[in-house]
Amino acid sequence: MAENFEFLFKFLVIGSAGTGKSCLLHHFIEKKFKQDSSHTIGVEFGSKIVTIGGKQVKLQIWDTAGQERFKSVTKSYYRGAAGALLVYDISSRESYNAVSNWLTDAQNLANPNLVVLLVGNKRDLEEDRQVSFLEASQFAQENDLMFLEASALTGENVEEAFLQCAKTILSKVETGELDPNKLGSGIQHGETAIRRFQRQSTSTSVNPPSCSGCKI
């Protein structure tokens, strides 16, 4: 399988248990909602090649367990991540309250240039909403985070979330704010920038997406 990409970005998906992190990832990769989802154990990952600004970027997304007892495991993955999706559930006040803790952890453990995007998931549950858009977006503004609300069920804003995060990282790389050569930056140069021209790829996902734990 061809691996044509210019950059590899390491992404994290973090947030409290049951906020739908795995479902977001699953929808991003498989383009459909995962019905029978259960708690993630430890860390899983999925990867997908996306085109941003004409560049092929491979996203290596680490989907962490939200449960407290896995924190020791998941924390070790914070290092060397370039971007993080911090997920809460708009129908769960509790999950939103935990956001600041998650943020602190991420900022402490990951590299300081970590790009964080706050995602209010389960937007489809409008009637059970406990966290208003305004409140969350204010929080995001205060902490210099990007923010959007998405739904892994309908797929609304799912791709946008990942793409927007990747876009920000890419622009930081291009402005020199982030150095891909630095160890632990979470960014790697693709191995096959040259071969990109030999193989024409028509759709955004040339490769059959592979996602451990999403399939089967």
Binding site: A2, S38, I41, F45, V73, S212
Partner: protein, 916 residues
């Protein structure tokens, strides 16, 4: 002269009058001077001669030859001729002579004449008889004629002309009636065409055919009419039309069987006497119908795929879509989008199933109807044809499915889709068994091939995924319950389920696909079946069996299984692979090999990350062999730049494509940090996770054995004996690094070198460096505990850690002692004291029992006391010590005497030379 003239005249006269005047003759006689008597004599003489001449045939012939032509001439008067011949001067002799000759001739001719008359006489008589008979017949004919005339005359008189005319009229009337009847029949014959069309329209084929056959019959009777000839040709046309209609009806039956309709068709064919031909035709229709239907189905899907790809905007593609109609089946197969693939396969199978159902119904119709009747066509022949048709039809079905299967790159499918595909094919195979007892080898083989293709792709992907996991692994312990094992994982749940449902699963396999009222496709029911029963991608651990209490209890007794995130992923992969083995029984062993590769790769990676910097002797030969083998078969040696291209070109095609590159750790694991005991905790988790995996594989062994063919069992056992058993061997190289790096041997050796070994009295106090070492070891113990907290260190590892560090200590002590060049007996005693003290104190420090053998140090120290001869022998026997250590020992031994030193040194050098 006169005489001659006279004779001539006489002759003429005699001819005219018939009478010869005797007087003349007398005168002649007188004239001639001959008497009649003489002449008579002459005659007599000549007759004598005649007698003689005529008696024998030869002479007779001669005589005939001498007859002059003049006599034979028809108009000739012989006498006159003869007379003319005479010379003018009559010479008697001459005449006499002539007379003689003529006499002879006459008698000969007479003779001949008589004999010939005699010969022909019987013929003459016969002819005469015939003439008489003819005459008689003529007489009879004459009689009949005259009788007839008499009768006719009578009739003319008796009957009137009028009555005869009446008779003639009657006869004509009779004729005319017949003609009008015929004409009426012909008229209906003309109308018959219309009626036949109507009947065909109403699909009463049999009636139509009946009508046509009757019509033809009638037409045959009236074929002497011109118009009928035309009509009958029209009837022939109608017949052909009807047969076409029948054909159309047959082809409809292929698509949509209606027993009523089919009955009509068959009775029509029976009328035509074409039942057997109809079956051949039917089989052809099935073949072409199958072709047509599958083709249009594929076209539909190809168009769908196309519009899916382009979202219906791209004009080029729209244009392309019209071209699908020109494509062949196999070309169309290649156009199917991967997303639609399973749906397409499903619909294709349903379509094919419908066709076979129709076939089956037709067959059943025939068997049902052949019972009652005794057909002109033997039922056995029909049955044979139908059976043959079944096999051929199924062959066609298989080929269609195979074409679709093989034209697709299976690795584009998700596992669910693959399983759907397998399910469909499985159902088809079962169907084939029911349909025509076929083993469906074609299907099985192609599905096996596709499974292998798929699994190869899957495995490659998983190996790569495993590499990424390993590269990013932080070797943190993943919290699981203390009694956790693979069977708690969701991925292994199917094992229990399959056991539970094994009894149930028998039922659906007996499902009859050809029940009379089977309306729903066996393929459509599949889609509805609850996903839980199938291989669906939930990756969690079933909460009920897995969940450990939220406040993580670490009770003293229970040791939590040590495993990292990656190990958990590997276990899950085991589950999936075993599930694959379960589902793809045909390639179960290939899958098992891949499963082993997962373990191999994990083992190799752990060794690569943690074990490579260990001293050589720490790796057991068995482990080394296993690692070498793994490296050969699994690890691609290409550098990072070319790995990508190798993957590109060789993916799935060669064995090179099945190799993975060695994991390169992305993040610093702090294996060099003394504070963390050189990553002891990570090492602990890494090493133990390998062992945990090996143990889980052992647990799975019975399951694996169940799934592979018995012939391969030995290979599985080989894997277990070779690979999993070395998992424990991995601990030593991984942990020995810690021990080796923990001791600062240089510092200690330095301390030892500062000790005064040339003491003159036996010391009672051990040297200070021993205390230092003991202190270091004490710290070692506590740091091990600290670093490993909160886990309890498994005893094996504790032992390894202590064993290793003590071995290091011994070597260090040996190095320290062997560095001593000058030493007294008392100094030697101090060495012994130090070692003894070390031994005793260490025993208190560690729970390791027994301690590693300190003989290497002890022997070295004690060799000092050996007498010269024994020392020589000792030197010969030892291989553990380096030449430098030996030399230094000799230095100490020979301190008193130079001679001994020289002796021993030369001995050493000899030995050294010999050993080389």
């Amino acid at each position: 002269m006169d005489l001659r003239q006279k004779v001539l005249d006489l002759l003429t006269l005699s001819k005219e009058g018939g009478d010869i005047p005797t007087s003349v003759s007398v005168s002649v006689e007188e004239q001639l001077g001959l008497s009649t008597a003489d002449i008579k004599n002459l005659d007599r003489d000549s007759s004598h001669v005649h007698q003689n001449a005529c008696s024998d045939p030869d002479s007779q012939q001669e005589v005939f030859d001498t007859i002059e032509a003049g006599f034979v001439d028809e108009n000739c008067n012989g006498g006159r001729y003869q007379l003319n011949k005479f010379p003018l001067v009559i010479d008697l002799n001459y005449i006499r002579h002539q007379r003689q000759i003529l006499g002879i001739q006459l008698s000969c001719v007479t003779n001949k004449l008589f004999s010939m008359i005699h010969q022909k006489q019987t013929h003459c008589a016969d002819e005469l008889c015939k003439v008489l008979e003819l005459q008689e017949n003529l007489d009879m004919a004459l009689d009949t004629c005259s009788n007839g005339r008499i009768n006719i005359n009578q009739a003319r008189n008796n009957l009137t002309t009028a009555s005869l005319g009446l008779l003639a009229h009657y006869r004509r009337q009779h004729h005319l009636i017949k003609i009008t009847k015929s004409l009426k029949t012909i008229q209906t014959l003309g109308k018959m065409n219309v009626r036949v069309q109507e009947l065909l329209g109403e699909q009463s084929y049999a009636a139509a055919i009946q009508l046509i056959v009757e019509g033809q019959h009638v037409a045959n009777t009236y074929k002497h009419f011109n118009c009928v000839a035309q009509l009958s040709s029209r009837l022939q046309d109608t017949m052909e039309l009807a047969e076409e209609q029948l054909d159309v009806g047959l082809s409809k039956s292929c698509k949509e069987f209606d027993s009523n309709q089919y009955g009509k068709l068959q009775s029509a064919f029976a009328l035509l006497g074409k039942q057997s031909a109809a079956l051949d035709q039917l089989n052809l229709h099935f073949a072409s119908g199958l072709h047509q239907q599958t083709l249009s189905l594929l076209q539909k899907y190809a168009e769908l795929s196309c519009s899916n790809l382009t979202s219906g905007i791209d004009a080029d593609h729209l244009k392309l879509s019209t071209e699908y109609h020109k494509l062949q089946f196999h070309e169309l197969c290649k156009c199917i989008n991967s997303k639609l693939y399973v749906a397409c396969l499903c619909e294709l199978s349903t379509c094919l199933w419908k066709i076979t159902v129709n076939y089956n119904q037709i067959h059943r119709w025939h068997t049902d109807h052949s019972k009652g009747k005794c057909d002109p066509v033997p039922a056995a022949l029909l049955e044979q044809k139908l059976q043959h048709g079944r096999t051929r039809l199924w062959q066609d079905v298989q080929i269609k499915i195979r074409t679709l299967l093989s034209s697709f790159d299976v690795w584009h499918l998700s596992t669910d889709e693959l399983l759907d595909m397998l399910d469909i094919v499985e159902t088809l195979v079962e169907m084939g068994k029911q349909f025509c007892q076929s083993n469906s080898e074609v299907l099985r083989e192609s599905v096996r091939q596709q499974s292998i293709n798929y699994f190869r792709g899957f495995h490659r992907g998983k190996l790569d995924e495993l590499r990424v996991f390993l590269e990013n692994e932080s070797w943190e312990q993943c919290p699981v319950r203390s009694n956790f094992n693979v069977f708690h994982l969701m991925e292994f749940r199917f094992l229990n389920q399959s056991k539970l449902s094994s009894s149930n699963s028998e039922a659906p396999s007996n499902e009859n696909f050809y029940l009379v009222d089977s309306v729903t496709s066996p393929f459509s029911s599949r889609a509805i079946s609850p996903p839980e029963e199938r291989f669906i991608g939930s990756s969690g651990i079933s909460d009920s069996s897995y969940e450990c209490n939220d406040d993580r209890k670490i009770e003293g007794g229970s040791v939590l299984p040590l495993l990292a995130n990656t190990s958990l992923s590997v276990l899950r992969l085991f589950g999936r692979y075993i599930h694959f083995m379960h589902l793809l029984k045909t390639i179960a062993f290939d899958v098992l090999i891949c499963l082993n590769q997962l373990f191999d790769y994990y083992l190799y990676a752990v060794h690569k990350i943690f074990g490579t910097s260990s001293p050589l002797d720490a790796t057991s030969p068995k482990l080394r062999a296993v690692l070498m083998k793994i490296e050969e078969t699994l690890i691609s040696t290409t550098t990072s730049e070319t790995v990508g291209s190798a993957e590109d070109t060789a993916a799935f095609s060669s064995s090179a494509g099945d190799k993975v590159s060695c994991p390169k750790v992305c993040l610093p694991l702090q294996l060099d940090h003394p504070n963390q005991l050189y990553g002891l905790k990570l090492r602990l988790i890494a090493a133990e996770s390998v062992i945990f995996l090996a143990r889980q594989l052992e647990l799975l062994r019975p399951n694996l054995l169940d799934l592979i063919p018995p012939s391969k069992e030995s290979l599985l056992n080989q894997f277990f004996s070779q690979t999993t058993s070395v998992a424990h061997d991995l601990r030593v190289p991984i942990f020995s690094v810690v021990a080796h790096r923990y001791l600062d041997s240089e510092h200690i050796i330095n301390m030892m070198s500062r000790v005064q070994w040339e003491v003159k009295e036996v010391m009672s106090q051990h040297s200070s460096y021993v205390d230092y070492i003991l202190q270091v070891l004490n710290d070692y113990d506590s740091s091990v505990l600290r670093v490993c907290y909160p886990h309890t260190l498994p005893a094996e590892i504790y032992n390894i850690l202590w064993d290793q560090i003590l071995r290091v200590c011994y070597h260090m002590l040996l190095d320290g002692f062997s560095a001593v060049r000058k030493c007294t007996n008392e100094g030697r005693a101090l060495m012994q004291l130090d070692l003894r003290h070390f031994q005793v104190k260490v025993e208190c420090l560690t729970r390791l029992r027994p301690l590693p053998d300190p003989s290497i140090v002890e022997t070295y120290i004690k060799a000092y006391y050996l007498p010269e001869n024994a020392l020589e022998k000792w030197i010969q026997e030892q291989t553990e010590y380096s030449p430098r250590q030996m030399m230094n020992l000799l230095q100490c031994v020979s301190q008193g005497s130079k001679k001994i030193r020289l002796n021993l040194t030369s001995f050493m050098e000899d030995l050294d030379l010999n050993r080389r």
